[in-house]
């Protein structure tokens, strides 16, 4: 297939699948909390609907960064699609993508002029420490497989079995990262309810639709990456099953767990990451 068509198809799949999975996530959370919840397709409809809503740029916003940061978020996750599902490139580039995502959280909050956005921006800096588990997981995968290339990691698992079985604690560490990024997560300190919607509070109308477009792609890429680097070569059906299972687990956890305060959130994640890192090293080298 032509490379550009391949990228376009993957971006569209990522947007549609990501939106539906996020819709499913809300539905699961609602059902666990004994609410009917919105239809699964609601997240997708909201993303599209916002493109036609009245939009204005607040006087307190820092232009052109206020709009530019939304474009940067889309750029970041299209790079994620290219490096992940399209080219099976390097995990290090995806680590860079996650790092830039944190910068987007920071700058979207600070450029808005809203006190909620600024508070979210401060928390984004604090929660940057939670990227350590991702780096540690990537390092552990390198120790085990001798490569950081996703294509070669898939081939390694084809020959030796899924990494989730040989280094399960690294998979758990990566799963905690997914949990962190999921909506209404106990670790989601940048979008806590006391901050309205945190760094996105002042991005309404079309800009919110654009943010939701990128976040759908982000969620899809994260789930795809987890399934690919820990469960090996999978068919499309197994990807769908895997994504739905992960969404059920995160939805259940998020529906039943209160939001941690920022310090507890960061310390919990770092503690789990530290324990999993040492445990995995022991499993690899002893």
């Amino acid at each position: 297939m032509n490379l550009m068509i391949d990228i376009l198809v993957n971006v569209i799949i990522a947007f549609l699948a990501g939106s539906l999975i996020l819709g499913l996530h809300r539905k699961i959370m609602a059902r666990v909390q004994l609410r009917p919840g919105p239809p699964i397709v609601q997240y997708l409809l909201h993303s599209l609907k916002f493109f036609f809503k009245e939009s204005a740029i607040p006087r307190t916003a820092s232009m052109p960064f206020y709009v530019g940061i939304v474009v940067i978020l889309a750029v970041v996750w299209i790079i994620g699609v290219i490096v992940g599902p399209v080219s099976h490139g390097s995990l290090l580039i995806l680590f860079g993508v996650y790092a830039i995502y944190k910068i987007v959280e920071h700058n979207a909050g600070s450029s808005s002029g809203s006190p909620y956005g600024k508070m979210s921006c401060v928390r984004a800096v604090l929660s940057a420490a939670t990227e350590l588990p991702l780096f540690a997981a990537i390092a552990l995968i390198y120790f085990k497989t001798g490569t950081m290339n996703i294509g070669e990691i898939i081939a390694y698992q084809g020959a030796h079995g899924p990494l989730a079985l040989s280094i399960p604690l690294a998979a758990l560490m990566f799963f905690i990262l997914i949990l962190t990024k999921s909506p209404y997560s106990p670790f989601a300190i940048t979008k806590a309810k006391e901050l309205i919607t945190g760094f996105e509070t002042e991005h309404f109308g079309f800009l919110r639709g654009f943010l939701m477009f990128s976040e759908s792609i982000a969620w899809y890429v994260m789930l795809w990456l987890f399934l690919t680097i820990f469960f090996g070569p999978l068919s499309a059906i197994w990807y769908v099953v895997g994504m739905i299972v992960i969404t059920f687990i995160t939805g259940f956890v998020n529906a039943t767990t209160p939001l941690l305060n920022p310090n507890h959130s960061v310390m919990t994640q770092i503690t789990i990451a530290g324990a999993c890192f040492v445990g995995t090293l022991l499993m690899i080298f002893i």
Binding site: M4, F52, K53, S55, A56, T60, V75, I78
Partner: protein, 71 residues
């Protein structure tokens, strides 16, 4: 026609042309990546700025103050 609308139309046309060109003609891999990274978000941005509803003139001033007036 205001400047923003002209900018959006140019960006939209440029994005569509670049993406369609890369779909039809074989290009170096890095050029295709560049087109995807720049013009897919550019296309969505231009489309959104064109499709979004604008406030009425008498409401425009009030809208930019919303919702954190005086901060």
């Amino acid at each position: 026609m205001d400047k923003q609308k002209i900018f959006c139309i140019i960006l939209l046309i440029l994005s569509v042309v670049a993406i369609v060109y890369a779909c039809i003609f074989p290009l170096a891999t890095w050029i295709v990546y560049l087109i995807a990274i720049v013009f897919i978000p550019g296309f969505v941005l231009a489309l959104g700025l064109l499709t979004m509803a604008k406030p009425r003139k008498e409401d425009a001033e009030e809208r930019v103050k919303e919702p954190f007036t005086g901060y």
